[in-house]
């Protein structure tokens, strides 16, 4: 089936959208390479859905342009754009059978009857919906409805597939299964996709690139690894689930990195701060920290509490300057069990990937 798709890149150029005085989307530039999947990730109200709706053609940008491939589609109505959107609510037509739901886009394009039949059957097979064609949407389970929504989008062979929080109506287990399916299908078809979600884990697990948005602006675009290793600022760091963001004292900085002091210890950052003269902070990833019985080498801290999370213990400790730090101890040895209230030594890594700010 993949050879039937002609996919195309998406380019968003200085895209802005205002609702009254509110800047819903503020000067966003994103390039989605053909065949890749980009997640728009951010808290609710960050402008990610509005951006998606501008790609689909439901919102007209106040400024900027949308390109699909080389074609400027900014002023093209949704029904002509080569995009297909999978809605959060699925938006399956309640008065039509599953077959008619899937065939809808082809009928709207006045495709020949035989071809409609053949293409619907094909997509039904791919989405494993055999036997459901005559049912109506309310008769299907959430996961099946999700497949129908996807089938309905795929059958029109769009150049671009768009997802608006497609899994938020499913339960946690199904969500994990469906996102794997979506990812497999997207790779198999090689179709350019934009996927909106507020779930960091979901975004990281399926995306080639993740665009983190906040208050209408694009904060950082990068691979999950880049975002995790080198978050652009503390918002990104927090959003991707990094908990220990501490302010540090900059000792020296050069092209190869920087020397910083944190909790009285001196360590290296592999990258210099992005801007000079700003207050600098750093992410201390919980799994990169270690605890031991009090000794000279570490920072003397007090254990606040501990919790068992599967194969690791998560400690919260308090440093002498009253900062709370989370430490994850994986596969703990007997010497690494500490009761709340005891004094322990916190060991920082010699080197951290980057600084914030």
């Amino acid at each position: 089936m993949s050879e039937l798709f002609t996919t195309a890149s998406i380019t968003l150029e200085n895209l802005s959208k205002y609702f009254g005085s509110i800047k819903a989307v503020d000067d966003v530039n994103i390039q989605v390479e053909a065949g890749t999947l980009v997640c728009l990730l951010g808290p609710s109200g960050c402008g990610k859905t509005t951006t998606l709706r501008m790609i689909a053609g439901f919102e007209e940008p106040n400024q900027g342009k949308v390109f699909i491939g080389a074609e400027d589609v900014t002023n093209m109505p949704p029904y002509i754009r080569p995009t297909a959107l999978v809605f959060q609510s699925y938006a399956l037509f309640p008065h039509m059978s599953i077959y008619n739901n899937i065939a809808y886009g082809l009928r709207a394009r006045r495709t020949a009857k035989d071809e409609i039949q053949q293409r619907v059957v094909e997509v039904v097979r791919i989405m494993e919906l055999e036997g459901q064609e005559k049912k109506t949407p309310p008769q299907l389970s959430g996961g099946q409805q999700q497949r129908v929504a996807l089938a309905r989008a795929l059958v029109i062979r769009p150049k671009v597939l768009l997802f608006d929080e497609p899994l938020s109506n499913l339960d946690a287990q199904l969500r994990v299964r469906m996102r794997t399916e979506i990812r497999d299908l997207q790779k198999q078809l090689g179709i350019t996709s934009v996927y909106v979600t507020h779930d960091q884990e979901e975004a990281f697990s399926i995306a080639d690139q993740v665009a983190i948005m906040n208050q209408g602006r694009l904060i950082q675009l990068g691979t999950p690894r880049e975002l995790y290793r080198r978050p652009a600022d503390s918002f990104v760091a927090q959003f991707v689930g990094l908990s220990n963001i501490v302010s540090v004292e900059l000792v020296t900085a050069d092209a190869d990195g920087a020397t910083i002091r944190v909790f009285g210890q001196t360590i290296r950052s592999r990258r210099p701060p992005r801007q000079s003269g700003q207050p600098v902070s750093a992410v201390l990833r919980p799994e990169a920290l270690k605890l031991s019985s009090p000794n000279e080498a570490g920072v003397l801290v007090r254990v606040i509490d501990q919790s068992y999370i599967g194969p690791m213990i998560r400690y919260r400790v308090m440093t002498p300057d009253q900062t709370q730090v989370t430490v994850d101890v994986h596969n703990p040895s007997p010497e690494e069990f500490f009761d709340p209230g005891t004094a322990v030594s916190l060991h920082l890594p010699q080197e951290i990937p980057a600084l914030l700010g």
Binding site: Y79, T83, A84, L85, A91, L92, F93, P94, H95, A108
Partner: protein, 635 residues
């Protein structure tokens, strides 16, 4: 042993105490039933002349004991009281049980029984004769007038229903989903006929287009045109029924998930294709509902055909003539039955088929109601139609107010206040109307809330039947309600005719569906976990209803009261049968003035009534914080 028997209630276990309470409840109910039974049914000695045993000139006369009163109703009451006891679940919850018994008995006495009486009377062989017979119908259809009236009623009903639904749907679409200017005012003006009695529209038409109408006679100098006749009836019914369609369809258009239309657009559907394949099929059930309801409204209409029919007879007017002018109760009942059958059929179709196919609530939480981008050649004619209706309504209603303030409409347009003098004599009738309408509002509001609570919050066998019975009056023409109440409660042991009581219960139960829908809507919004929390914290069901449920439903209750008040103030079709010299109602007086007095006198009546209703709506708007248009949403 004796100490076992004489234990104090506190020492009893919970289940023992519950059983004791239940036994006491049943005992009290039995006493109540016996008391009612003695009032409802009696045994009398009746003098009987036996004609078969005539010997010479001496007739055998003897006394016989006969049951008098209303034994069938007593049987129904016994059933209504004891059938709920069969449910184990209800036996365990006395509050629910009593509430259900009260609701059921109310519905039996004031809904089922009067309607059944119409059927019983209609199928009787003759006066003072028992047994089933179709004689009435043979007599009826042998009369060309009746056959004509039946045909006329159906033709008018179908014409009005189809046209009103078509126009109303287009206007609802315009006002809900397009971005035409002035929607706020257009919304109010297009539904303004809801604030007046329907026959006021006829009256305004006559003022404007009648033989001495300002537009036809004074402005255009047309003398041949005659507004009286079937076309006149259809026109005025359109004006009074289109608002109903607008309300029903606006609600549905506004609730269509925007996602569905966007999905259609995203998949390549052009605007008209989407309208045909998505929007229209989704509102189809509502359109059918609107057709059926306007049909019922049209065939029940009594005032308009009377005023503007010009001798064109429909069933409602025929029933009035037979019953009130010719005192033929049976023929009146039989005519009512002809009227009730299509109305009930329409209601059953709506209730059992159409409402099941509603798609409106399929996707919860989806975004709804947004403006559609449509080509100008669609938008502008729609806008024109809307403006036309709004302007026409404005014209109709201003003519009433202007008419009230000139000397003699059609002849002498000198401004004057002297028409208001006529109103002074009508003050007792206005007082009567207010007493009846407030009473009906309160009774209907309370009953509506009670039944709404019973049908939404609780689960027990027969819940659907309860809902159905409480809703059925919606389909019953006002004329039939009036006739049914007369037949059912005219004679011994009631003698209720001519009292305020009969009008109040008739209005309350006739408009119960309104109170019920308001209550159901409020109940559905009410989070059931609030009640569960209260029960969980140890409050009884009674306390929970009084301290949690009722305060939260307060607004809905008040809205229900006002709606029923307005409906009762403007009713004519039941009123003409139920009121008496002592309890004459304002609308009846107004109707008489319209047929016999000068146009300006009558206009003053209509104007006063409209002002009162606007005041009531104003109060409701203040209390509920809703806009004028939203006030009508639930009704």
């Amino acid at each position: 042993m004796s100490s076992e028997v004489l234990r104090w209630p506190q020492q009893l276990s919970l289940s023992q105490r519950r059983n004791l309470g239940f036994a006491a409840l049943v005992f009290v109910e039995l006493l109540l039933l016996i008391y009612i039974g003695t009032r409802l049914v009696g045994v009398e000695l009746v003098e009987v002349t036996d004609l078969t045993q005539v010997s010479g000139n001496v007739e055998t006369v003897f006394m016989r004991r006969e049951v008098v009163g209303d034994p069938p109703l007593l049987m129904l009451l016994v059933l209504g009281m004891f059938v709920p006891l069969a449910s184990r679940r209800l036996r365990r919850e006395p509050v629910l049980l009593v509430a259900l018994q009260v609701a059921i008995i109310g519905l039996i006495v004031f809904v089922i029984w009067p309607l059944a009486q119409v059927f019983i009377e209609g199928f009787r062989a003759g006066q003072n004769v028992t047994g089933f017979s179709l004689v009435q119908f043979e007599t009826l259809f042998a009369m060309p007038m009746v056959a004509n009236a039946t045909r006329n009623t159906m033709i008018i009903g179908v014409t009005t229903a189809v046209l009103a639904t078509l126009i109303g749907t287009l206007i609802a679409y315009t006002l809900t989903l397009t971005d035409v200017p002035g929607k706020r005012w257009l919304r109010i003006l297009t539904i303004i006929p809801l604030v007046s009695p329907p026959f006021a529209v006829s009256f305004a038409f006559i003022l404007l287009f009648g033989r001495r109408g300002v537009i036809t006679y004074d402005l255009l100098h047309i003398t041949q045109y005659d507004i009286y006749g079937p076309h006149g009836i259809v026109l005025v019914q359109l004006i009074s029924d289109i608002p109903l369609v607008i309300l029903i369809l606006s609600a549905v258009f506004a609730s269509i998930s925007r996602d569905l239309e966007e999905a259609a657009e995203d998949l390549g559907g052009r605007p008209l294709f989407i309208l045909r394949t998505v929007t229209f099929p989704l509102v189809m059930p509502a359109i059918l509902t609107a057709i059926l309801l306007t049909f019922i409204s049209s065939i029940s209409d009594f005032g308009n055909p009377m005023l503007i029919g010009g001798g064109f007879q429909v069933l409602a007017t025929q029933a009035f003539i037979q019953l009130i002018e010719l005192f033929d109760l049976q023929l009146g009942a039989a005519l009512s039955m002809i009227l009730i059958i299509p109305a009930l059929a329409a209601f059953l179709v709506q209730h059992l088929i159409v409402s099941r196919r509603s798609y409106v609530t399929v996707t919860s939480g989806a975004r709804t109601g947004h403006v559609r981008r449509l080509p100008g050649w669609i938008t502008w004619p729609l806008f024109g139609l809307t403006i036309f209706l709004a302007a026409f309504n404005l014209l109709l209603y201003s003519s009433i107010f202007v008419g009230a303030l000139v000397r003699t409409w059609g002849f002498d347009f000198t401004p004057t206040l002297e028409n208001l003098n006529g109103l002074i004599n009508a003050m007792p009738m206005l007082r009567n109307s207010l007493i009846v309408s407030v009473g009906a509002g309160l009774l209907g509001g309370i009953t509506g809330l009670l039944v709404a609570w019973l049908v939404t919050r609780q689960n027990y066998p027969g819940r659907g039947a309860l809902d159905f019975t409480a809703t059925i009056m919606y389909a019953i023409p006002g004329t039939v309600v009036g006739i049914g109440y007369i037949i059912a409660f005219n004679a011994s042991p009631y003698f209720w005719t001519g009292t305020f009581f009969i009008i109040i219960v008739a209005y309350a139960y006739r408009r119960l569906p309104v109170g019920l829908r308001t209550g159901v809507a409020a109940n559905k919004q009410l989070d059931p976990t609030l009640e569960e929390a209260s029960l969980d914290l140890g409050a009884s069901r009674a306390r929970t209803f009084a301290q949690i449920t009722f305060p939260l439903l307060n607004r809905a209750f008040f809205a229900g009261v006002i709606y029923i008040f307005i409906r009762s103030m403007t009713d004519l079709s039941s009123a003409v049968f139920l009121n008496s010299g002592r309890t004459q109602l304002f609308t009846v007086r107004m109707f008489r003035v319209m047929t016999t007095g000068t146009p300006s006198e009558a206009a003053a009546f209509a104007a006063l009534l409209i002002v009162i209703i606007l005041l009531a709506l104003g109060i409701l708007s203040k209390v509920s914080g809703k806009s004028f248009v939203d006030l009508f949403r639930v009704s």
